[in-house]
Amino acid sequence: MTGHSSWPEWVYIGVVVAILVWVGADSWYIEKLIDHAPEDAEIIKVTGQQWFWSFEHADGTKEVGELHLKKGIPYKFEVQSKDVIHSFNIHDYTVMMDAVPGRINTVWFVPDETGEFPIQCREYCGLIHYNMRGILYVEDT
């Protein structure tokens, strides 16, 4: 040891820890807010399989490769897979949930803008993973 003082290092570590605590606390708070879907959310069954997405609305309507939703209504996706792991992703709405064979994962969102948004697969799933895409249409109520 060269006899230098170590207080600058402690101050620096303190600042780093303070930033980390802030990041951790804030993301804990936000994640807590969005963790549970509202009770009145409409349920949509999402099934991934090599290499397309299919959707089943609460009223039994089925769609393949495209999904029509209404603006301002909360939706809860029940995501599952028929073969390998896929990941259901609507990037513009930060909807992202793995489709894992043998289990049902849920994720929810409220579309707040009308338009077309790409749906894609974000977990490698084989030959045509790059083109396992769909389109979300959000329409006015």
Binding site: E31, D98, G102
Partner: protein
């Protein structure tokens, strides 16, 4: 021993030697060869992604095989063997012992690498280096997938054997007059990384066996149709491979600890802080594995636990960065090639770490996960930090290995180009991820932003490629025709080094 310095030897004498500098040389040459092979795959992929549609690669399966072998090669056949190479050269000298503790085991650990490498490269599997079931057990084409599994098995055993050797050498063979607290920080980094290897890697070894029997259809550990759970594999995988990140990065940091005080011509700011940070990272590195799995349907509590575990690893990394800056502060810094690479590596380490904090914040992870953000993020670690530290050390140890000096101007040009290239590729990939481009895609829809950013990234990758050709030329040319180095002090900056060319060579 070392090339050239004493007298040239036939190559088989080096190949069948068990002496630590010979095995080190074998590791060194192997790892650099695979750096170039793995890098070539990366350039092919970047060229393919320059525009939407098929460019130079005809089908998606070939592209998938490229990124699988690219990742596997650079982690297991470049970074790990490179750390083992430098460990072989320097750890016995640093702890003042005549060789590694088990010289034959050392040679065996090395010679498993070409076997594993052959399996990985001849198989050319496509299921990404994660090999997630159920794709890997139900749909991935064999025999490539099976060869990859066997190859990784062999590489895993090799790194376990190497780790045992380093641990015993450092703890049991160090000179009795040398307390552990005075052992140089590079040897410390090797010690911590080796202990982590022993704890982490057997889990993946078990997972590989389960993967194999699942592929054969005789078991169903990860197959939901037979009552298994594919997520179990991800836990086993990341329990090994999140700590593996630290196993990869710690030796690179240790190499920077060797270079930075020397070229700052000033003692290290704090050895104690460096050791403490290594131990801290070695422990908390095990508390964060499932932050790779937020999107698999984890509960809020699980996500919170692993977020805290991940954030806890940041102060340790920050202590290293502080130590480096405090050492350089007020030093008479000589920016020779090894120093430039180290400082560049620390800058990118800082950038990578900051990005990591954003990744682990739970709501943000759902934006970045499995997108190009993640590709950019971990490449800042594996290329920006680990490869930069490794290349720094290759320049640093070059005169002691070859007896000749590399070309300083070309070395600096290599750094400048590689740094510009790395920033161009990996920072752009972060932004590309925020625009939603998923990773591991052979083709993408023609969104204008995606095209522009992919083109910028490809140009950056080509700049790195050009810098690597300069590097290759410099290494080959200088090792045969370079200026003879001053073997006491190749850079003329004073002080004593560790001299691998001065160790005695016993007859084996």
């Amino acid at each position: 021993m070392v090339l050239e310095i004493v007298k040239p030897r036939p190559v088989w004498q080096i190949m069948f030697s068990t002496h630590h500098t010979d095995v080190g040389l074998l590791y060194l040459i192997t790892s650099i060869a695979f750096l170039f092979l793995g890098g070539a795959l990366a350039l092919a992929m970047r060229a393919e992604l320059f525009l939407p549609g098929s460019q130079i690669i005809q089908d998606s399966m070939t592209f998938h095989r490229f990124f699988t072998v690219h990742g596997t090669t650079l982690i297991f056949l470049f970074i790990l063997p490179f750390a083992a190479a430098i460990g072989n050269y320097l750890v016995p000298i640093m702890v003042r012992y005549k060789d590694m503790a088990y010289p034959k085991l050392n040679a065996i650990a090395y010679w498993m690498i070409p076997v594993g490498a052959a399996l990985v490269w001849l198989g050319f599997a496509d299921f990404t280096w994660n090999a997630y079931p159920t794709y890997s057990i139900l749909r991935a084409p064999g025999p490539a997938a099976d060869m990859w599994i066997f190859g990784l098995k062999i590489l895993g055993v090799s790194s376990i054997l190497g780790s045992i050797n380093f641990i015993v050498t450092i703890l049991k063979c160090k000179h009795p007059d040398l307390p552990l607290s005075k052992v140089p920080l590079f040897a410390w980094s090797t010690l911590i990384a080796s202990v982590m290897t022993l704890v982490a890697v057997p889990t993946f070894a078990a997972a590989l066996l389960m993967l194999l029997t699942d592929r054969l259809g005789v078991s169903g550990f990860f197959n939901p149709a037979m009552g298994g759970d594919p997520i179990a594999y991800q836990h086993l995988f990341w329990f090994t491979f999140h700590p593996e990140v630290y196993i990869l990065v710690l030796p690179a940091i240790g190499m920077m600890y060797e270079i930075i005080p020397r070229f700052s011509r000033k003692p290290l700011f704090s050895t104690g802080s460096g050791i403490a940070a290594f131990i801290l990272l070695g422990i908390v590195g095990f508390a964060s594995w499932a932050h790779h799995m937020y999107a698999t349907g984890m509960s809020f509590t699980e996500k919170t636990v692993f977020m805290i575990g991940t954030l806890a690893a940041v102060p340790g990394s920050a202590m290293h960065v502080f130590n480096f800056f405090a050492t350089m502060w007020g030093g008479r810094i000589r920016f020779s090639t090894p120093m430039m690479w180290s400082v560049g590596g620390i800058a990118l380490f800082f950038a990578a770490g900051s990005g990591g904090v954003l990744n682990t914040a739970m709501p943000l992870d759902f934006i970045t996960h499995d997108s190009y953000w993640v590709v950019g993020h971990f490449h800042l670690f594996v290329f920006g930090t680990i490869a930069f530290g490794s290349i720094a050390f290759l320049y640093y140890i070059f005169p002691f290995v070859t007896g000749r000096m590399y070309n300083e101007k070309l070395g600096q040009l290599h750094f400048v180009l590689a740094f510009i290239g790395a920033v161009t590729v990996f920072f752009t990939q972060h932004i590309l991820g925020l625009f939603g481009m998923p990773r591991r895609v052979f083709d993408y829809p023609p969104f204008p932003e995606w095209i522009t950013m992919n083109q910028i990234a490809t140009v950056g990758a080509m700049i790195i490629g050009a810098s690597m050709i300069i590097f290759l030329f410099n290494m080959i040319h200088s090792s045969s025709k370079g200026k003879e180095a001053n073997m006491d002090d190749p850079w003329g900056i004073g002080g004593k080094y560790y001299y691998p060319h001065r160790v005695k060579t016993p007859h084996h």
